[in-house]
Amino acid sequence: MSDLISPTKLTKKDFETDQDVRWCPGCGDYSILANVQRVMPEFGIARENIVWVSGIGCSSRFPYYMNTYGFHTIHGRAPAVALGIKVANPELSVWLATGDGDGLSIGGNHLMHCLRRNLDVKILMFNNRIYGLTKGQYSPTSELGKVTKSTPAGSVDQPVDPASFALGVNASFVARSIDTEAQHLSDVLRRAAAHVGTAFTEIYQNCNVFNDGAFDAFTDKAVRAERQVRVEHGKPLLFGANNDKGLRLNPRTLALEVVTVGDGGVALSEVLVHDETNPAFGQLLARMPFPEFPVAIGVLHASQRPTYDGTLRAQQKAAREKLGQGDLAKLLRGGSTWTI
């Protein structure tokens, strides 16, 4: 990525555009935007080599506010458009902003194929568990029984967990963070940026107009220590205000349990040590039922495998090496010809 590097050091300001930001006052999207604008200069990539791609939704307005190249496409199709961009110019740093509706409802298939192909793009899914832009219908991440405009008697769809979905289709990087946890989010963004391959980051985002407080049960300052486990590679899976709770696995039943660690509890050595390279950890962590278990945030899984664009480039190089630059006149003549 050497030639992508920005010659001058950029600041947050450099990533702001002259457009009025048109989210509702108080929306979690603002924090995410500010965070991204703050962290992005660190990556040292010139703005002209960055492209933000999005679908449709409140979250998908994101590109308008980033002073990079931006493409606000159609509902659900951002991963497909990004595929074309990345294939056409693999040098670009391509970022996607999507919502739980855009990315998992109408766009679930493109997201799935992007993840399994391991296209080298960074995806931020703003999960507010609601359709914001269309004014408050339930989304694929809304909880069962959710009462919304389209489900006055409560929804009958059981939700999908974005991280679990991503791991099921072999995503190489899966992380979770929270709109308002500035430090944590910055760290996760840095990890995502550094990952080579599809980096999928789910960000719990508060829609204060249509689903206010959706994540309070585990993001509220008062409870978050007890209700979140912040996972880190190589570190034991501990949580609680006093770091005195841990996650242990029964090796025969493969049942996960919350244990008290230390005084009166189990030994630290019994607590699982997070291995982000083993997807089994990601799966277990992603699916933990709440509130029986804490919500896992951080990098649930990260591993290296070839990227779609990388393999493609290698093939192209090999073809040129083997066949040389194509000769059009020869191509047109094809197999057998005759002259009159």
Binding site: E48, A80, L83, Q316, I340
Partner: protein
């Protein structure tokens, strides 16, 4: 590059020089009819005949042997004169089994030659084909010249020394048949002998067997006393130059590669397999060394979107599909025209509606192409008229897409895709130049700045310093490119997009006559793959003194500037289409002319005679 060899084998058999013939090979899907047809065609081409071919195969991948729906056919028309279609009715029908006879006999010309493999006319096969009585034994074949030969037995005998299994030996039947046909039409064997060697090279037993079969069939013609004479078709008086045989999908693919090279852009094809469009994907996937990237997408929506993404990033984005896939692409095409990026969409039409008749041809996506998007979504629509013309029109699609920063839909169809014709290989230097300029100057830049002449917006691609900007499907301000919901601005933009497409009319050739005078009693106006049949039919009618001309539209949106005027110069206008009259609708609306429709929706091309008859009817009424 081969010099076309002239007939070499000396003999004293009477040779009748004929103008040309239409031959159809028909047999089981496993009988190798497509290979036989290809080789027979190659021989005609090397003899400098003009020709056209049309394969017709079943929807099933490999239908059970002996069934009528498993019959595979290949028709070739070759002649010392210009050839425009694969021919209405075959002069010669080769039927390798009862099912092939059953499904093809109705097409054979009265008095035509019927070559039958009597070795397959056993009880099982007759039953599968639905014959109660063996047609070789009742009088049902009266009126044809029937040559009933046990080709199976002849072949097995011919290859018995090559050590092939019985099953493999049977597979050589098609080369035996080809050998016989070569004898009848005085063709040299050498090119096919070479082909067999290169094809089966790794298995010397197969090489030996197929060569033995070919030669045995040829010798059979010479020695068996069933043939009165053999034929010779002299070379056609075609333009000088280097020729090859080309099918529509290959021509489309080559046109796209050529255009990308002419424009100096890498090409990205996004495609999802669908009959009969898949071969464009297959063909282009071989050309990595030309800067061609093909992506088999997860569906048609992804395919069009990734092509658009590629265009956004400064490559040439292309997507290819057929009817049902086309329907799925419309939202993406709408985005493309809204962000005004170049995009080429190839729709290789097939029979519909819905899944319809996937392996059959039709011209019924015209209105979908022109109107099938939400709101006012004008795009350029053009169509190819012959397999070779697919090359030219593919280049034209790219040229217009790049010049006008717009999606261009190129319509071809199953008939063009699968058919083939000799094609004069163009000189690369003679191909149109395609200029592409990316915007790099920040002074006064906004993304929707337009070229005053073409109304095309400037193309600033990611990676260009200081031109960072955002585009999207919301309405944009004419003067800044920012999102705008302002009423007057919206109308201005809607009209600008429409005017841009309408303006293409001044950049395309005026409509001229293919055949006939510039005015008269009747204009037969066609578009797309009906070209050959119309041209031939009109010529024949003119030969009989009728006042009729043929013009053919290759630009459907916008129409050529002089179209209205051309229509007015004729008393009547007849529009033959393989749909219920879609172009007619557009013509009537645009010019208020009482154009008449000749509609055929059978998954089959027009026969020349159908057109002749209709022309006569119209002129007599």
């Amino acid at each position: 590059m081969n010099e076309a060899p002239s007939s070499t084998s000396p003999h004293d058999f009477p040779r009748e020089v004929i103008r040309g013939a239409v031959v159809r090979f028909a047999g089981d899907s496993g009988d190798g009819m497509q290979v036989t047809g290809d080789q027979f065609t190659a021989a005609a081409a090397l003899a400098r005949n003009d020709l056209a071919t049309f394969p017709d195969f079943p929807a099933e991948i490999r239908a059970p042997t002996g069934t009528t729906y498993g019959v595979s056919g290949f028709q070739v028309h070759f002649s010392s004169q210009d050839v425009f279609t694969p021919g209405d009715a075959p002069d010669v029908l080769v039927a390798m089994n009862p099912a092939a006879l059953k499904t093809n006999l109705r097409d054979l010309k009265k008095g035509g030659v019927l070559i039958l493999n009597s070795g397959t006319f056993n009880a099982t096969n007759l039953k599968k084909a639905g014959y109660d009585v063996n047609p070789l034994e009742d009088n049902s074949l009266e009126g044809y010249t029937v040559l009933s030969i046990d080709i199976t037995k002849q072949t097995v005998a011919a290859v018995k020394d090559t050590g092939l299994s019985n099953k493999e030996a049977h597979r050589c039947k098609n080369f035996w048949t080809l050998g016989l046909m070569f004898w009848i039409y005085s063709r040299p064997l050498e090119p096919t002998l070479q082909w067999i060697e290169s094809k089966f090279g790794k298995r010397s037993d197969l090489v030996a067997a197929n060569i033995a079969a070919l030669k045995a069939g040829h010798a059979f013609g010479e020695t068996a006393e069933v043939f009165q004479h053999r034929y010779e078709v002299p070379p056609a008086p075609v333009e000088k130059g280097e020729y090859r045989n080309i099918g529509g999908n290959t021509a489309t693919a080559l046109g796209l590669v050529a255009a990308a090279q002419l424009a100096g852009l890498p090409l990205v094809l996004g495609a999802y397999p669908i009959t009969p469009a898949s071969d464009v994907l297959h063909e282009l996937s071989k050309y990595k060394q030309f800067g061609v990237t093909t992506v088999q997408a997860e569906d048609e929506i992804a395919a069009v979107c990734l092509a658009l993404g590629a265009s956004y990033a400064g490559n040439l984005g292309v997507t290819s599909t057929s009817g049902p896939g086309m329907a799925l692409k419309m939202e993406g095409i709408g985005l493309a025209l809204s962000v005004e990026l170049p995009l080429v969409i190839v729709d290789i039409q097939r029979g519909g509606p819905s899944t319809g008749l996937p392996t059959k041809t039709e011209q019924a996506d015209l209105l979908q192409a022109v109107y099938g998007r939400n709101s006012e979504g004008p795009v350029c629509v053009i169509a190819a008229s012959t397999p070779g013309n697919c090359f030219t029109m593919a280049i034209e699609a790219v040229r217009l897409a790049l010049k006008y920063m717009t999606p261009v839909i190129l319509l071809t169809d199953g008939y063009l895709a699968n058919g083939a014709e000799p094609w004069k290989i163009p000189n690369v230097a003679d191909l149109p130049k395609i200029d592409v300029k990316f915007r790099t100057d920040p002074a006064g830049f906004h993304p929707f700045l337009r070229d005053p002449a073409t109304l095309a917006r400037n193309w600033a691609i990611p990676g260009t310093p200081e031109l960072m900007h955002r585009v999207g499907g919301l309405e944009k301000d004419y003067d800044s490119g920012h999102i705008s919901y302002a009423p007057d601005n919206h109308e201005r933009m809607v009209k600008a997009r429409a005017a841009k497409i309408a303006g293409i009319a001044s950049d395309i050739p005026p409509l001229t006559m293919e055949v006939g005078d510039d005015s008269g009693k009747l204009l037969v106006l066609g578009w797309g793959s009906t070209y050959g049949a119309i041209r031939e039919a009109v010529q024949r009618c003119r030969d009989r003194g009728l006042s009729v001309s043929h013009a053919h539209l290759r630009y459907l949106n916008p129409f050529p500037q002089n179209l209205g005027e051309v229509l007015k110069r004729f008393e009547r206008v007849l529009v033959p289409e393989l749909n219920l009259g879609q172009l007619v609708k557009m013509l009537r609306s645009a010019y208020l002319v009482p154009a008449e429709s000749l509609a055929k929706v059978q998954g089959q091309p027009f026969k020349i005679t159908e057109l002749e008859e209709k022309i006569r009817q119209v002129l007599e009424s």
